[in-house]
Subunit: 309 residues, 2 copies
């Protein structure tokens, strides 16, 4: 099934307790595209870059069979840049620099060839921009997944609510779910958020895993893989989203049971991403490496629970 | 299989965002005993209480078929008392009062009838006291599980290391595992702690679940049940331990696969404990209530992961 991805393609500069990088390839769209490439080769990307975006990074996207026709290049413009520093626990970080650059005036245009997409992944962006893509599609995709963050709750609440109302799956982190719903309990938060439109809610808890809720009060939990070292958490959530929707696009099965599997695949890919800086680890995985990690996840979660009489 | 439990029997006074209690029944031994009573009726308890311990609380222990012969009553003494207040997030609490009372001079004596125990649960106590029980047993139990906390790392490190060296399963929380090992990564922390003696390590992560590690690098994760409300977290860890060892005592199977099941049972019981104050919820559960919660856990964690080709 074909997958349309909307998300940033960016430069990141990252410092963690393990070291620091120069400007490297980053952005939600990048991580989503690379992660989903392990499941489908029909990926169309919508994004925006500046003239400073180097050929070697374009090549990484092309190596993953990502159609880049919908990535606008702004003449004389500079690519979106984020710089951040992680604390020792890797759960918190300081943003040192955010230069929106070409992202500030991003007006997404869906190329004609992208019209017939089956799955749509709206990476974290201004909700009005996310909506603009969805509204340009003449045929609604089978599944629309949306990622967002607290920033948009603070500055664009109405647009956020409007966009959330149009999607099938919303992914946010635990603190954002609490902020969005005003409920501390994630069960109550999920119930409230699911009245806003989405059929499914995924609450990402970082190193503590992810929860999937549906409107029928089904709930599934997938842990994060306990790792020797989390080297760089950047892109973990986007990789998760890309693996999740990529697996669904490949299997074309939107049952709750298959969504559980998609979450395991997303979690497995995210656990690989964080083992190196940026996209370094996730860029060129072998099928064996991915299968090996999936096997590790199976043994981490599989248990044959028996009821006592 | 018979189970010997060593742990405090105490008074707790608890305040949470949902309300507060007077002095109520508490103590690690109490929670462990009540939780394990859903699996075995051969429970022998070693503890100490004061003359102020009321008959109604003795009756609760007796109702659960706990043999209280090994609970010493100190004439004129007062029962151990703890008072605490939980913050809104329920993950942190302030201790307002700790009165050791009769616990200060507790010298555990194993009654002759307790000698032949198959399973031993050493609830959180001074490690020297835990050792004293183990050392009095003429025949080593099939399985010794030990719970401890950071307090003993700070004031009784050598005794703690000595006791840990004698047990089969150690249970501690994530921050304590980090403190004990000097490693931030829980994978690395587990590996180090497992060189100290235990064959298995359970790292409790509160609302984020629990991890089981063995020396062969097997790892299993069980989530905590997402709940509408966590009403009072007091005793959750002890309930978990009691459910864990109770399930093992009933099934008499010490394989890694069965330990996984025991962790699910421990987690299920812990998730019930926190739904009311103190031992209120856990004291009189029906088999149906427990089975219902186990079914909820099954659907929370079960996933049929398939490898892609």
């Amino acid at each position: 099934m074909s997958l349309l991805i909307v998300g940033t393609v960016a430069f990141d500069k990252i410092e963690t307790p393990f070291g620091k990088t120069e400007k490297i390839l980053g952005g939600a769209g990048t991580y989503i595209g690379i992660a989903s490439s392990y499941f489908t080769d029909q990926m169309n990307m919508i994004s925006v870059i500046g003239e400073d975006f180097p050929q070697k990074y374009r090549d990484i996207l092309k190596d993953h069979k990502i159609n880049t026709e919908g990535i606008q290049e702004v003449k004389g413009g500079k690519t979106f840049f984020w710089e951040g520093k992680y604390h020792t626990d890797m759960n918190s970080r300081d943003t040192l620099t955010t230069e929106l650059n070409v992202l500030a005036d991003f007006d997404p245009i869906v190329p004609e060839k992208y019209q017939d997409c089956d799955f749509l992944m709206l990476g974290n962006l201004a909700p009005a921009v996310q909506s603009k893509v969805l509204d340009q599609l003449r045929k609604r995709p089978k599944l629309v997944v949306m990622d967002t963050m607290d920033f948009w709750m603070d500055i664009a609440w109405d647009a956020l609510v409007d966009t959330i109302g149009k999607v099938d799956v919303l992914t946010i982190n635990d603190e954002e779910a609490r902020q969005m719903s005003g409920e501390y309990s994630l069960v109550k938060a999920a119930r409230k958020i699911l009245t806003m439109g989405p059929k499914y809610l995924i609450i990402k808890k970082g190193e503590h895993g992810a929860l999937l809720f549906d409107k029928e009060s089904n709930c599934f939990f997938a842990p994060a893989m306990p790792l020797e070292d989390v080297f760089d958490p950047t892109g973990a959530g986007d990789t998760f989203a890309g693996g999740f929707i990529g697996y669904l696009a490949k299997t074309n099965d939107l049952s709750f049971d298959n969504m559980k599997r998609a979450i395991i695949y997303g979690s497995a890919l995210a656990s690989l991403t964080v083992e190196k800086f940026g996209t370094e680890k996730i860029s060129y995985l072998t099928q064996d490496e991915l299968n090996h990690r999936i096997e590790s996840f199976k043994s981490l979660v599989e248990v044959d629970v028996k009821l006592l009489d």
